[in-house]
């Protein structure tokens, strides 16, 4: 099969002071830009350069934290440019070994509804809920149709950040089917832990309670952050999501929500996870076919 050329502008290299290098792949979000960021940061990780402290793929860009006493930032930029030169196309055999994860979500739940009603003065449409507003803005007949779209196709984790464990998730559908919403006019001062939010073209699960500006759509019964590391899925890390994970935010009812909560409290809950060899080139050529395969593997 032929290689898929990533039609993207040349990357922009910027020094974030003496300790960071920021590389903007594109100003607009796209899966192509994210795949390029993942490819370059993955290759950088394999080089195991002394002095590279943190490698952070971030949606349509990436950020590297460097110890300039061990690696000159200009030398790092030279290395990154050479990696970019070899990442202008995705070859058919390029594989991202990743996980597909089922993440249950109770959409239109009582907790985020209570929260969003407290902050209507900061919202574009004080007379509607966040889901009603987003459904209208994106041309859906109503909230059920929006939830079906949110819950139907999987997402890819394109960045972790803001606070520990927060996954930025971009839905794996062509741009004309992407859901896009603005952030709140002024951020809320409160968001419940595990709220499922949406801002710009990104879905997130808030790891901890706190401020937030994303539209509130639902609540996940299972955590993405566990400082005590008592749940089995957190044995190796206090955060569950990883950049490159593929997740499905599956709509559940109150009964299943309660059941998962009981399992979380009993420390027996485990996410449904399947290993998957994801081929970005195949995906870009036929997204729906790959998505069907992903869901088939996940629920096999």
């Amino acid at each position: 099969m032929a290689a898929t050329t990533l039609a993207l502008p040349p990357a922009r290299y910027e020094y974030g002071g003496d300790e960071f290098v920021f590389v903007e792949i594109d100003q607009a979000m796209s899966l192509e830009a994210n795949f390029k960021a993942m490819t370059i940061t993955g290759a950088l990780r394999e080089r195991r350069l002394d002095g590279v402290l943190d490698i952070c793929p971030s949606n349509a860009s990436y950020l590297i934290r460097v110890d300039p006493e061990r690696l000159h930032p200009a030398e790092l930029v030279d290395q990154l440019r050479s990696l970019e030169a070899s990442a202008t196309e995705l070859t058919a055999d390029q594989v991202l070994s990743t996980r597909v994860v089922d993440v249950p979500v109770l959409y239109d739940d009582p907790w985020t509804r209570e929260t969003l009603l407290r902050f209507r003065d900061r919202h574009q449409d004080p007379g509607a809920t966040d889901l009603e507003y987003a459904a209208r803005l994106n041309g859906f007949d109503g909230v059920p149709q929006l939830v079906e779209a949110l819950s139907g196709a999987p997402y890819i984790v394109t960045m972790l950040g803001f606070v520990p464990g927060l996954p930025f998730c971009y839905q794996m559908v062509p741009r004309d089917r992407q859901i896009e919403v603005p952030k709140y006019i002024r951020p809320r001062t409160d968001t419940p832990e595990r709220a499922f939010g949406y801002g710009g073209a990104f879905a997130v699960v808030y790891p901890v309670r706190g401020a937030g500006g994303y539209q509130l759509f639902g609540m996940a019964p299972a955590p993405v952050f566990d400082l005590s590391q008592t749940l089995p899925d957190f044995a190796e890390s206090i955060v569950f999501p990883k950049a490159g994970d593929i997740v499905r935010y599956r709509a559940i009812d109150q009964a299943e929500f309660d059941q998962v909560r009981r399992e979380v409290e009993a420390k027996t809950f485990r996410y449904r996870i399947r290993e998957f060899e994801f081929r970005p080139g195949d995906f870009l050529a036929d997204p729906d076919a790959v998505n069907n395969e992903l869901l088939e593997v996940l629920y096999r």
């Binding site: 020094y15 920021f22 594109d26 100003q27 490698i55 949606n59 860009s61 006493e69 950040g161 803001f162």
Partner: protein, 327 residues
């Protein structure tokens, strides 16, 4: 167990060290002492490794009682210090014994005081560091600021020769606190979002530190900066200050709303959707850390070579202190 008895915790006193590396990619900032120069100098004064855990106190220091013989040193902000009621000098090696009580008056210059104790603060290492990150409550002493009545563990006193009591850091090597703190800044990242006039104005304005100034970041006021008009790219959100969510360097500057620049510091969020317009260099995070609400700062544009030269200059000053203490 020998340790420190916290009579009063002060306003915001936390255990910090050089910071936590390797977790930025999961969204965890490095934390660590904001003024690394003063913090490291304090450790050198008591014969500790430069990266031993120490206390960082903001505005109002703690009152601490010692339970065994130690060396201590106070650096950073200008503050009158007493040991069991007798004045002692900052930037000097001070011997203490069991029952001695160290107290701080109000600071008279700067904003943050560092206290090193020989042996270091002996809290457990968490993910490679003893620094406190209060947002999720991890590291340091129980993941939080000190409270009245806490008992802090201390590490084993270092073997080998420690600086003699009364050893000090020359005045010329200590930081000064000018009326306007100049923050050398590598302009860039998404600075293309500002108009040319706005970028000039950013560098020409003297900014005032607001009350929102802590280890997460400093919010400033003093002018308005205009963004270049554009059709927002896909996924960025509708506000002109928004970009597709990206990683924020520590020290980076963003301008939500165009009128309140925020300088992110060691406990900041690691990313988000506001355009970043430059980064304060690491050596001058020391300087902003010593400014407080109402103080003034300005930004001075430097390139990467000047940023690295400033970093070397800070390293050389620490080496000079280390050498002075060996003489």
């Amino acid at each position: 167990m020998n340790g420190l008895i916290v009579h009063t915790g002060g306003l915001y006193t936390t255990v910090q060290d050089t910071g936590r590396d390797g977790y930025y990619e999961i969204g965890m900032p490095p934390s660590g002492a904001l003024d690394q120069f003063s913090y490291r100098a304090a450790n050198l004064l008591v014969g500790n490794p430069e990266g031993a855990a120490a206390l960082e106190a903001t505005y109002i220091g703690p009152e601490l009682e010692f339970t065994d013989d130690r060396l201590v040193a106070v650096t950073g902000a200008d503050v009158p210090v007493t040991l069991s009621g007798e004045p002692v000098k900052p930037w000097e090696t001070i011997p203490v014994k069991a029952g001695d009580v160290l107290s701080f008056a109000m600071i008279t210059g700067g904003a943050r005081v560092y206290l090193a104790v020989s042996g270091g603060i002996g809290v457990p290492d968490y993910l490679g560091s003893r620094s406190t990150y209060t947002l999720t409550g991890l590291g340091g002493f129980e993941g939080r600021k000190l409270a009245d009545g806490d008992r802090l563990p201390l590490g084993e006193r270092p073997v080998g020769t420690a600086p003699a009591p009364g050893s000090g850091v020359s005045e010329s090597l200590r930081p000064s606190f000018p009326e306007v703190a100049e923050l050398r800044t590598v302009v860039g990242l998404c600075s293309y979002r500002l108009t040319d006039a706005a970028l000039r104005s950013f560098l020409e304005t003297t900014w005032k530190v607001t009350k929102d100034a802590d280890r997460v970041g400093y919010r400033l006021r003093g002018g308005t900066l205009d963004f270049v008009e554009r059709e927002q790219p896909f996924g960025a959100g509708s506000d002109p200050a928004n970009v597709v969510d990206l990683g924020y360097p520590v020290g980076s500057i963003q301008v939500p709303g165009g009128d309140e620049p925020i300088v992110l510091l060691n406990d900041a969020v690691t990313g988000g959707g506001y355009a970043t317009i430059g980064t304060v260099i690491s050596a001058d995070r020391d300087r902003i850390a010593q400014t407080k609400t109402g103080d003034q700062v300005s930004f001075v544009s430097v390139d990467i070579d000047q940023a690295l030269a400033a970093r070397r200059e800070r390293r050389e000053r620490l080496d000079r202190i280390s050498n002075e203490l060996k003489e």
